[in-house]
């Protein structure tokens, strides 16, 4: 039971969030829509976005799952501070993330000399795009999974351990299956965040067709010269995002 007056501001809020989407749909040039989104540059951008976001999501899972375990299942001094720091990219302006990555992996960054010795150039490469996406997306997985781990509780793990299962077996056979919905929705959210990543990419990776120019960067470029194409591609991104959120928000899946 909620007070009836709450519906008014709630409707206002919903209108505020939905109206811009309606505006995009209304602005789309439907006659040329298919031509616009199938240009060589658009296809390159979409394909690059999907590829890099998939790799970034994989990295999020590999790096984020252990972090969520440590944050949810252990306690040590400074854990609260560490959690805040790990989640920082959630609230940091992405362009700041880009600058930070530049000073880490850039040619003159902290690891610049080491990378140069190995003959690896990160800036201006597709690797840079993946790094930027992973940087901004990992916290989504950590938050989602840590929540799922805490909700699931320790009961089953304790029972499994008392029956003689080794910690790795418990993790593999009990913990992971238990939090699988949280893991999946975390991964989906990370993928969506990676797909939309713009600020860190443009700062750190540059913009070149087929190499670093992902869908958001392509939209940003087209917006100046070919508004119709920019709007069409924006709608593509909106549709992908809606699909992703719909998948993550399916009944039975917790968002953490």
């Amino acid at each position: 039971m909620i007070p009836r007056w709450i519906y008014a501001p709630a409707a206002l809020g919903a209108a505020f969030l939905l109206l811009p989407l309606v505006a995009i749909v209304a602005r789309v040039e439907w006659t040329d829509f298919f031509t616009l989104i199938t240009s060589e540059a658009s296809k390159d951008a979409l394909w690059l976005s999907l590829r890099t976001s998939a790799v970034a999501t994989l990295l999020c899972l590999l790096l984020g799952t252990p972090m969520a375990m440590v944050l949810a299942r252990t306690s040590f001094p400074g854990q609260g501070v560490l959690r805040s720091l790990v989640l920082l990219p959630l609230v940091l302006p992405p362009v700041v993330g880009g600058v930070a990555l530049l000073y880490t992996f850039g040619r003159r960054g902290l690891l610049g000399d080491e990378l140069e010795v190995l003959g690896i150039q990160v800036a201006f490469s597709t690797t840079a795009v993946v790094l930027a996406q992973t940087f901004v997306a990992t916290p989504f997985l950590v938050v989602s999974l840590e929540g799922a781990l805490r909700t699931a509780g320790l009961r089953y793990e304790v029972v499994a351990a008392s029956l003689g299962a080794a910690p790795t077996t418990v993790f593999r056979r009990v913990t992971l299956p238990l939090v699988l919905p949280g893991l999946v929705s975390g991964a989906v959210l990370s993928f969506a965040r990676a797909l939309g990543e713009f600020g860190a990419t443009v700062t750190f990776a540059g913009s070149l067709q087929g190499v670093t120019r992902t869908l958001p960067l392509e939209i940003y470029r087209l917006r100046e010269t070919d508004v119709d194409a920019a709007v069409a591609l924006s709608l593509v991104l909106v549709v992908v995002a809606v699909l992703v959120i719909g998948f993550a928000g399916r009944p039975g899946r917790s968002l953490g």
């Binding site: 530049l102 850039g106 040619r107 201006f124 443009v202 540059g206 913009s207 670093t212 470029r221 010269t225």
Partner: protein, 247 residues
């Protein structure tokens, strides 16, 4: 109560806006990003000569700014980095008077201050393995770069096509890129972080900057006055100081 101060935080932006120094009239000038330093100085001079006038400057890519004005942004004056962009404004009947050219600019090679790749000429930019960064062809500086390279028969293969001059400069001054192509004035404004290398082919492609008052302004007289000021001795002197040529 964990958030007793939260409502106060929400008020912060309002107090910041209310802190104006009592200027009774405001003139909003939209200017190309490459005019940042020079127009800040011109605005100061203009304010000094006009009591109670506050000049608000908004800088950005020229085509970006036109899009904003077309969308109803409250600009009184528009100074563009190229004629084509100004034509868009005129074609939409948004210019209150015929645009006038007030400055010119040419391209220059920009390198990190220690010039690690040893760049000395336009031809050096075609070297394989070089991290060259240019503006995207849709942006005025990118169009100019394409034209200069085309005229000279130099095939450029940049590692990145940036959206604005400032993005190119950022990549060069951070040392990520070995070289970039921007305007003479941009190199000068960037200071000691970068070095500039002039090349003779640049003289063939001269970029002209037009300025015009915007239609529907609340301060049409002041806007015309500002345009005249930029074209006058003070404005031209400041622009020359930043490396701009005279049209």
């Amino acid at each position: 109560m964990r958030w007793p101060l939260l409502p106060l935080l929400l008020l912060l932006p309002l107090t910041a806006c209310g802190g104006d120094d009592g200027a009774s009239r405001t003139l909003t000038v939209y200017a190309a990003a490459s005019l940042t330093a020079s127009f800040e100085e011109i605005a100061e001079e203009f304010e000094a000569e006009h009591d109670g006038v506050d000049v608000e400057l908004s800088f950005g890519g020229s085509s970006d700014l036109v899009t904003q004005i077309q969308g109803g942004a409250p600009a009184d004056v528009f100074a563009s980095a190229d004629g084509a962009t100004m034509t868009e404004l005129v074609d939409d009947d948004l210019a209150a008077a015929a645009p006038q050219d007030f400055a010119t600019n040419t391209l220059e090679i920009v390198v990190p201050s220690d010039n690690p790749a040893g760049i000395a000429s336009l031809q050096d930019l075609a070297r394989p393995g070089l991290n060259l960064v240019v503006c995207a062809p849709e942006v005025p500086c990118g169009a100019a770069a394409q034209q200069v390279a085309g005229n000279a028969g130099v095939a450029l293969s940049p590692v990145s096509e940036e959206q604005s001059v400032t993005d190119v400069l950022a990549k060069v001054s951070s040392g990520e890129a070995d070289a970039g192509l921007v305007y003479v004035t941009d190199v000068r404004a960037a200071g000691d972080d970068v070095g500039g290398i002039t090349f003779p082919e640049a003289a063939e492609v001269v970029n002209t900057y037009p300025i015009a008052p915007v239609d529907g302004s609340d301060e049409p007289d002041l806007a015309t006055e500002f345009v005249r000021f930029v074209l006058g001795d003070t404005g031209q002197g400041v622009l020359a100081g930043f490396g701009f040529g005279q049209p």
